[in-house]
């Protein structure tokens, strides 16, 4: 067999292998991106749930703490800002603010012991606690996915494929607020 044929066969093999690698990497990148979208939609569901709870909460507590006008206004306007946020950084800062305002709101409501006898309020309090937890857990799941995807996009050799098809690293979803003591912080 001529040396040329061997070279051709080896070259063809490398090309086929390379193509297979590109296809496989592309598919896994797309898969990761879809999982990321799923994780994000879980966060959105929970944030939406929180927005829906706030009017109920305000309505139920107003009769007990009518003179806490400032607190009610703060919650209502923070909710409005969060509901109007579009970009990731806007959502992140508006929701962080809402978390802080809500935890201060609940702290103020602690001063009204008769609220503890109101079944509506207790039910809403449980819903809010659970929604805050779900946001935190969904955020960790999302950020785990971001880490996976970004590693793949930035590390050799998968970064070559990612560059070819224009995959961009995803942004972490951070909620930072000094007041949000109840919400877990996670570092990697």
């Amino acid at each position: 067999m001529a040396a040329g044929t061997v070279v051709i066969i080896v070259l063809a093999g490398i090309i086929v292998f390379g193509l297979l690698y590109v296809v496989a990497t592309y598919n896994s990148l797309v898969g990761l991106r879809n999982q990321l979208k799923n994780a994000w939609s879980q966060i959105e569901v929970q944030l939406k749930r929180r927005h829906d709870l706030i009017p109920n909460l305000v309505e139920t507590t107003r009769g007990y703490a009518a003179h806490e006008r400032q607190t009610f206004d703060a919650v209502t306007s923070a909710r409005a800002r969060a509901a109007g946020a579009k970009s990731m950084s806007e959502i992140s800062s508006a929701e962080s603010e809402l978390t802080g305002v809500l935890s201060r709101f609940m702290a103020v409501m602690e001063n009204y012991p008769e609220l503890k006898a109101n079944q509506n309020f207790l039910a809403l309090q449980e819903e809010l606690t659970s929604t805050e937890n779900k946001i935190a857990f969904a955020r960790q799941a999302y950020n785990d996915q971001v880490l996976f995807l970004n590693n793949k996009i930035q590390m050799f050799p998968s970064n070559v494929v990612a560059g070819m098809f224009n995959f961009r690293p995803a942004e972490y979803f951070e909620l930072e607020d000094k007041a949000q003591a109840a919400v877990p912080k996670v570092s990697f």
Binding site: G63, Y112, A123
Partner: protein, 502 residues
């Protein structure tokens, strides 16, 4: 995810099924030869065939019907979001934290002893059960720890192995019992025919089969119980990592272990499923113990100082148990991130309940699960009506006020949750907690309120500050405050006022 542990569990299950099959066939053959070997040359094969059939039936049963059987012998009632919102929420939270593919079905077990267990062979089809007693004594964080532990078993595929083992153990006990009965019967015959038979061979077979029959249950137990110990530590590790709050589970385990109530529904076959061994027969460290000692589990959780991740659990485990052997395979720890411990949830635990009080709370939880209607009268008497109660109204035996009965399931419009759900949430609230020193806007004379028909509404007596929940079916035009006797008038239409105890 403990991938290698999941794989090991699957492997072990297959091995167990095969080993049990072999064992049963041998046992069946021995019984066949012993009982009828003198008359029928193929009795051994017949015995083996029957045993194989039994094995196949048991296998099918364990794979397809075991969940419902085990759930029903455990008195479990399925609940949804409306019957116990907090429990349902906690399961949802952990499903999100663990990225499970499907929401497990949630059950409350009719039992005042605090405990919990899970069922199901894969994360796509699973069941989480907690007892009413657990709901009565545990706060939010504690309950979350327990739910996450059970989810840990589901994620690690422990239940696949345990379900198969439980069914197999059940069948072994049954078969050896049958054999020992037939042995007692045939020894009587044996003396009369021993002179005619070949003697030695029969005696050997007798001894072998007797040994087998005695060993079978013991072997099964050792196999099955010893395996359920390490998995409890692993599920604890998963719980700490998912909740990021190891103290929640630690304090729940303490409460479960400290309870004097005995679990009624527990059987030795279902015992290994529970988070804490319900039969309490376990000698501390024997081979027969279904669970590792509770004190060690609590100590490990409380020693997790640095964080809530798997590595932190491992460190604490080695420090407490002084075991060299790794709890979590190194391959599963790769890429395990650092997880910080979170702060406690604001909703505090129900601490310091007496035995009678927690029993009563457990009773109320079971009533809510069983669709009882709750009516609280203005006079302070609480009336609990079973679903069989036929009337639409109930008269208070204390003050003769007539109340309309709102059936659970009839959703309160406008409110997030149904009346029965709210009932649960307030189970902890006692009349004393309503503040007498409330200084609301004071008005002399008649108080006027607008009625919002079809909605739950909260109003407060302006004179004494007593709060009232107006039910959606409220149709009266006036209300006399039970606290101070002042009159409250409503602009538009029944008499269902749900007074917040006060």
């Amino acid at each position: 995810m403990f991938w290698s542990i999941i794989a090991a569990n699957k492997r072990k299950t297959v091995l167990l099924i095969a080993a049990m099959g072999l064992f049963l066939v041998l046992l069946g053959a021995a019984i066949g030869v012993f009982v009828a070997g003198d008359y029928h040359p193929y009795a051994g094969f017949a015995g083996a065939g029957i045993a194989a059939l039994v094995w196949a039936v048991m296998l099918l049963a364990s794979l397809y019907a075991s969940d419902s059987v085990l759930l029903s012998i455990s008195n479990a009632h399925q609940v949804d979001r409306d019957t116990y919102p907090q429990l349902y929420n906690l399961v949802e939270e952990m499903v999100i934290a663990g990225s499970l593919p499907a929401m497990p079905k949630v059950y409350v077990v009719d039992d005042p002893a605090p405990n919990a267990f899970a069922m199901g062979k894969s994360p796509k089809d699973s069941h989480i059960c907690v007892t009413a007693g657990l709901l009565a004594v545990c706060g939010r964080d504690e309950l979350q720890g327990v739910v996450a532990h059970e989810l840990g078993h589901i994620m690690n595929r422990d239940l696949l192995y345990m379900t198969v083992a439980a069914t197999m153990l059940g069948s072994m006990l049954l078969i050896s019992d049958v054999f020992l009965r037939s042995f007692r019967y045939s020894t009587m015959r044996y003396t009369s025919r021993s002179r005619r038979s070949s003697g030695k061979g029969a005696v050997v077979i007798l001894i072998v089969s007797l040994v087998l029959a005695i060993l079978a249950p013991i072997l099964a137990r050792i196999l099955y119980f010893s395996i359920s110990r390490k998995r409890e530590y692993l599920a604890d590790a998963t719980s700490a990592r998912l909740t990021r709050y190891p103290e929640g589970l630690a304090s729940a385990l303490e409460k479960i272990g400290g309870s004097t109530e005995k679990l009624v529904a527990a059987r030795s076959v279902t015992a290994p499923f529970y988070i804490v061994n319900p039969t309490k027969q376990s000698l501390h460290d024997s081979v027969f113990a279904t669970h590792p000692p509770l004190s060690a589990r609590i100590k490990v959780l409380r020693s997790m100082a640095g964080g809530a991740g798997y590595l932190d659990y491992m460190k604490a485990y080695i420090q407490v148990t002084r075991k060299r052997q790794a709890l979590i395979p190194a391959a599963d720890l790769k890429g395990a991130g650092k997880v910080e411990i979170r702060a406690a949830n604001a909703a505090g635990p129900a601490a310091g309940l007496t035995a009678a009080e927690s029993r009563r709370r457990a009773g109320d939880i079971m009533r809510a699960v069983n669709k009882f209607a709750f009516v609280t009268c203005q006079c302070g008497l609480e009336i609990k009506l079973p679903p069989e109660y036929a009337g639409d109204t109930v008269s208070c035996p204390r003050c003769k006020r007539v109340h309309s009965v709102i059936r659970p399931g009839a959703k309160a419009t406008g409110a997030v949750l149904s009346a029965s759900a709210a009932m649960n949430a307030s189970a902890a609230v006692r009349p004393e907690s309503v503040a007498q020193d409330y200084s609301g806007p004071g008005h002399a004379g008649v108080q006027q309120e607008k009625l919002n028909p079809g909605k739950w509404q909260t109003i407060t007596c302006h004179a004494c500050g007593r709060p009232y929940e107006i039910s959606p079916s409220f149709g009266s035009r006036k209300l006399v405050c039970s606290g101070c006797g002042s009159l409250i008038l409503f602009s538009p239409a029944s008499e269902a006022v749900h007074h917040k105890r006060g």
